[in-house]
């Protein structure tokens, strides 16, 4: 099965004789020649990905001031860096927001990192923890990347093998790490390089392991040379991840780009490319994986839970086409809906990464490394977090009414049951509106006669499986004090009021 070794490939690279292709090119080669002949002929397949990688950051050693300082509270352009390290070491994380709440996520840790790579001056302000050997209280200087000893990028989670795609069932727009998701499934957003993705091209689905990538693999990272440290956090193939490192001083701002996901957070778009040595036929075959071969689940991000409802399964080819047809439930009706798809990562840039790495290898500037060990164990352990759902606090059957009752009858119901909210339902028990005691008072003052004249029709609702925390947020956002609870067919099954929530949270203190 073994046909060649990395050592042999490196000898070819040094002589300028290696055959290097990108993963996209490899698809055609394997299609036309077959995997065995491709394995004979091709030495290296380059891969690439370019997307938001929030779990990224940089260790910086600033060098000692005089008199020396043991920095504890550290800010770079007003973005806090972690200072619980030795005296002038710090870690600036990409997702850290600005200390100034008016700036917040518009200029965060990622933006500091990009500015450093661009050679810009950055303001360092730090407060010291004074000791006998580090007597200085404070330091405030302007620095550039050239002024620091080391700026070592260490990214705990990068290079996701596959991303779930996202859509939104809610009646409102939501703002997520997958961008802005429109109401009622009106768009689907996806991420990831698909057939160009490093981990996808190196994956063995039978053993859930990777053919060549492991600890010590040399990689393209942000325009410089980097290395795989090991598996990234939340590594769980086929949702594999990598922990990587590189030298910020070698990097190119073209491949290290700060961004702000609207109303979500700062993030760093990172370009990563990994060369895959084509050591045998099996590896060659996997390097020819296509967008249509990679399954992508689409989840409903409008559901504020850890496990979101699966709306559909698709693949990268469909997603890249720009549109997709979904079968969804809207207001209790099954609907087939064709909507736009949009990427939130850049395939164009991923191509450029793979192409750049290919050129480095052809120019003899980049040699491959043998991994010293495979990536570590997959783990998927949810946090042990308590949760209270709406159904946990529903007690009495709901009091509802039909819209054909009189206002006087509605008033009597509110008084009799000592409630302030009365959901109005149709003959099937489906919610069509709601009236409150305030609506009754207004009706009397304005001489209104019928329920339909006074009821609110656009009702904010909750679901039995919805966290109570989220209902509280909705009440506050819309300035309401009661929310009918409906099932999937919009039948009223209960009601949650601000009194219920106060009682619940009061008990938790």
């Amino acid at each position: 099965m073994i046909m060649k070794t990395i050592k042999e490939i490196n000898e070819k690279i040094k002589k300028g004789e290696a055959v290097v292709v990108t993963a996209e090119e490899m698809i055609k080669i394997v299609e036309e020649e077959g995997a065995k002949r491709a394995a004979d002929y091709v030495d290296v397949v380059t891969t690439g990905t370019f997307g938001a990688m929030c779990s990224s950051g940089v260790f910086i050693n600033f060098g000692h001031s005089d008199p020396p300082i043991k920095m504890l509270r550290i800010y770079l352009n007003n973005v806090e860096a972690y200072g619980g390290l030795a005296a002038v070491d710090a870690y600036i994380g990409a997702a850290q927001p600005n200390e100034d709440p008016d700036v917040d996520i518009d200029y965060g840790g990622a933006h500091v990192i990009e500015d450093l790579v661009r050679g810009k001056e950055v303001e360092l302000y730090a407060e010291g923890y004074t000791t006998d050997c580090y007597p200085r209280k404070e330091v405030n200087v302007r620095i550039t990347l050239d002024d620091v000893n080391q700026a070592i990028m260490v990214n705990p989670r990068n290079c996701y093998q596959t991303y779930a795609a996202a859509t939104n069932s809610r009646e409102e727009k939501i703002y997520t790490y997958m961008g802005i998701l429109l109401p009622e499934y009106n768009n689907v957003h996806y991420s990831g390089a698909g057939q160009l993705n490093p981990l996808q091209n190196d994956y063995n689905p039978e053993t859930k392991s990777f053919n060549t990538i492991g600890i010590g693999t040399r990689i393209f990272l942000g325009g410089g040379i980097g290395y795989v440290i090991g598996e990234g956090t939340q590594h769980n193939p086929p949702f594999g991840t990598l922990m990587v490192k590189g030298d910020l001083k070698q990097m190119n701002p073209k491949f290290i780009r700060a961004a702000t996901m609207p109303r979500y957070g700062s993030t760093l778009y990172v370009g990563i490319g990994i060369p895959i040595p084509v050591l045998n036929e099996k590896i060659a075959e996997r390097c020819a994986i296509r967008d249509e071969d990679i399954e992508v689940p689409i989840y409903d991000y409008g559901f504020p839970r850890r496990d979101r409802p699966l709306i559909a399964k698709t693949n990268y080819k469909v997603l890249r086409s720009g549109k997709i047809t979904l079968n969804v439930n809207i207001d209790g009706k099954d609907v087939e809906k064709t909507v736009k798809t949009g990427s939130v990562s850049s395939y164009k840039m991923a191509r450029e990464v793979a192409e750049t790495l290919k050129q480095w290898i052809l120019d003899g500037k980049f040699l491959l490394t043998e991994r010293v060990d495979t990536l570590g164990r997959a783990e998927n352990k949810p946090m042990k977090s308590p949760i209270t759902l709406v159904k946990d606090i529903l007690s009495k059957p709901p009091i509802t009414a039909h819209s054909n009752i009189s206002i006087m009858e509605a008033a009597k119901i509110l008084i009799k049951h000592n409630i302030n909210h009365l959901p109005i339902v149709d003959e099937h028990g489906k919610l069509v509106g709601i009236i409150t005691s305030w609506d009754i008072a207004k009706a009397l003052a304005q001489n209104k006669k019928t329920i339909e004249e006074i009821m609110t029709r656009n009702v904010i609702t909750a679901h039995e499986d919805e966290p109570v925390d989220h209902v509280a947020i909705k009440m506050s956002k819309y300035n309401i004090s009661g929310v009918p609870v409906v099932d999937d067919y919009r039948r009223v099954v209960g009601i949650v009021t601000s009194e219920d929530i106060s009682r619940l949270f009061g008990g938790k203190k």
């Binding site: 802005i180 949009g342 990427s343 840039m349």
Partner: protein
Amino acid sequence: MRKRVYYWTDSEHINKPVISDTILNTGVKINILKAKVEPQEAFLILELFGSKETIEKALNYLSKFGEVEEISKVIKRDLEKCVHCGCCITQCPINVIYMDEDYNVVFKEEDCVGCKNCLKACPFKAIEIFE
């Protein structure tokens, strides 16, 4: 000739077929790009097709029943900042933005009505709209 306008219908004319009457009385062709109708007000984005004289006649006619504002906004993208991620594509209500075969994000600038949805969605702040 083509012209795009914002149009607010006065409340007293909200239930009248103003658009149909404009078409019948002036011969202009009208495409309704966006409509937001509420009890007190209607807001529309209209696209008018016809000769210069016809469009002018149509605008005068529309002005009798509401307020017309020409759309003279220009959308501009900073290609230094843009990485062609595609976050903006699904945000455009009139499909001005798409991804081409080489995975470039492409703007049909001439069709833009300046709603700013793409501007708000861009993680790199690469989109500007001049008014």
